[in-house]
Symmetry: C2
């Protein structure tokens, strides 16, 4: 823990550490004891400690299943009142575990700590945290154990922050008190890619907030994306690490604190997307916008959007006018595809599409890295690496620090390995 402490004090000026323990890290009484021991060791090393806990693994699902039994679409206010009990239980048990090991501890719920959110039940956003209350609790050597995931709105209704919201609670509390944040979970950090796919994957020592956000599909398994946004906004250094070992994990930090510029930091695979292609759409201003507005009204999120001139553009007619056509390709999650089809069938005539094609047998492979900004030719190298494996690219989209390709599902693992090792991310054999 000493190594950790040093690193953390580099990021935060006060000797205060926020430690968040996820569902598996508090999944049994024994694991709660282990987590309590870590918090106490951190305190003995000279720090004030705030512990944030998730619900015991499986508990939130158990509670939500009860709600589903009663109603197919349960009232969000009551769902939050229900689900928030999971973290309350963990917080009380963690406080008891710390006390049983000779420490001082008190559990604090959203309404007790003044974690004020908006009233968007099940996906509330934190507006304020009573940092003074927290400092008061800590002043006499008490470890404050805060129930994650929950807050209250201005009227005192219980709200929750959405799945994985305890990460966001932890980062927000760390921001409020100017602390660094340790996220203890069941993996030991963020990897260059999924080790189950690519055995040469290795743990990333430091990664920037921006890269972490782009690596969502890798990162979401270890750190809730919204918590990264909050960390970036307030400059909270976040250390993602394993509950079950003392080894350092991955630091998620500001760009200026991340390591020397490697070109590519990680390779992400997203199996959850499906492709929609509007073929031969009229290329007039506003036409494409209409399609996406209709999707947005249905709360369907669109990820990649690619527009290209269509093969169906007709030659100039007798009046000299060219009927300009364009093809529009976009991706939605597989879960949204059926609803997307409904929307598109009603929009097909409006946008003048000749045809709409749907493809589910597709995955998205992405490379992410701050270094791309200063290294030319990264995209070309990506295409070469895929071509060398005879993998056809179905669509491409790029951002400043990310390049994504759609490829057929059967190439998913091959593409990841080719890119991962081709960009030199693997551990030396």
């Amino acid at each position: 823990m000493t190594g950790t402490a040093t690193e953390i004090s580099r990021g935060a000026s006060v000797s205060l550490i926020v430690q968040k323990f996820g569902g598996t890290s508090v999944g049994t009484v024994d694991r709660i004891r282990n987590a309590a021991a870590r918090a106490l060791a951190t305190q003995r090393a000279g720090h004030q400690v705030v512990v944030i806990v998730s619900a015991m693994a499986g508990e939130t699902n158990r509670l939500l299943a009860l709600a589903s039994e009663l109603s197919p679409l349960p009232d969000a206010r009551e769902v939050d009142a229900l689900a928030s009990t999971g973290e309350q239980v963990s917080a009380a048990l963690m406080a008891l575990a710390i006390q049983a090991q000779g420490g001082k501890a008190r559990s604090l719920l959203g309404h007790q700590l003044g974690i004020i959110t908006d009233s968007a039940y099940t996906k509330a956003r934190i507006k304020a945290i009573d940092a003074q209350r927290l400092h008061d609790e800590l002043a006499d050597g008490t470890i404050a154990v805060v129930a994650g995931f929950q807050g209250v709105d201005e009227a005192g209704n219980i709200t929750t922050l959405g799945r994985g919201g305890s990460d966001t609670s932890a980062v927000a509390v760390a921001a409020a008190v100017g602390a660094a944040c340790e996220i203890f979970t069941d993996v030991d950090g963020v990897y260059t890619t999924d080790p189950n796919i690519c055995p040469t994957a290795k743990k990333i020592e430091r990664i920037s907030y921006e890269e972490m956000l782009e690596l969502a599909s890798l990162g979401a398994k270890v750190l809730q994306i919204r918590s990264v946004e909050v960390a970036m906004k307030y400059g909270v250094p976040v250390h993602v690490r394993s509950s079950f070992s003392e080894a350092p994990g991955t630091w998620v930090v500001g760009e200026e604190q991340s390591l020397e510029r490697v070109t590519v930091t990680g390779v992400a695979l997203d199996r959850n997307e499906s492709r929609v292609m509007l073929v031969g759409v009229d290329d007039r201003p506003g036409i494409v916008a209409q399609a996406f507005t209709a999707l947005s009204r249905e709360n369907i999120s669109v990820d990649m959007i690619i527009q290209s001139p269509s093969a169906h553009t007709t030659p100039a007619g007798p009046d000299g006018a060219v009927s300009r056509k364009t093809d529009v390709t976009f991706t939605v999650t597989k879960a949204d595809l059926a609803r997307t089809q409904q929307v598109m069938e009603s929009m097909r005539v409006v946008v003048g599409a000749r045809e709409v094609r749907y493809e589910e047998d597709i995955v998205k492979v992405s490379i992410v890295g701050l270094g791309m900004r200063s290294h030319a030719g990264v995209a070309a190298r990506m295409f070469e690496l895929l071509a060398a494996e005879n993998i056809n690219i179905e669509a491409i989209s790029t951002s400043e620090i990310k390049i994504s390709c759609l490829v057929a599902t059967r190439y998913a693992e091959l593409a990841v390995r080719a890119l991962h090792d081709g960009f030199g991310l693997g551990t030396p054999a």
Copy 2:
């Protein structure tokens, strides 16, 4: 339910009913649905409805077992934070069940309803309830679903009211808003005695608060004793009835509202007492008080106390002084007997007792009835009935509306049946 409504309006002037559902009545999702249907039926009959819920059966024990795993003597504040989640879960689920059946409902926790208690964790007492908040919630046809058992102290810490505390929550809420209180449980009322012992036992239609308190050992199975004290203090009519039938249960009401004066209302059996006998104690002022003060310091509750001249009083000596001796008999719970023995061993010399005898093979049989006050000869009849069965009485104590006898354990059931049928409480054969 119409019959119920009529009876309730006799007790309370406003058309507001508090309905409390115990652990077995909300023990499964199906039972929660049934309870919700009852609340909605009551609303449709023209009443405003407040529902108070206990934790789902077994949940409180599950939570407390987790705490015990972490600590043999867990911190009471954290135990309350932990245990109170059981009722929070029930309240949210009940609100969802009411909504699923087309009603309006909101769950309300202790801190949301302003159920302010003292800070005596695990056995807090209610100091105030925000009745206006409750009226506001009810105004638009919402059924307010209040988590029982819990409150908050002035500092916002979560407190609980002790085992069975949801009954007390219900009666206190009913008192605050001037309502009658229905307690739905897994038995259909208070019986003249335990039907498992005495097959002729019958349901009592109306019973006074005073009798209910004296019948603790019968009544505690259906209604928490402290809730009866609160009901008596505020004159809240309480209807104890089954969740699983429409039949009326037992009304617990003020003396003036109870039925015509029967001599004996019920027969109670308490298997939980043990007898301690101080033989030949110096009969000087203050001596006996010392023994009971010592027990009280150890938090040992004493039930019956009987003092009689001792056979060990010595005749007048040469100086004419009589060494007056007395025997003191008292009862403590079997659970407290070991600690009582420790205290008595250290007190034996102080009080000058010749001997201390302990007896665990003993039960207490009591008859209770307001009618005793005006009927002479009830005690004599009790002794006759026991004598007719050759049951020896080991000790007797009486209060205004109760007579208790200690008898050997082997006579327990026989004594109950003899008294129950001897006082004409049984259903006609």
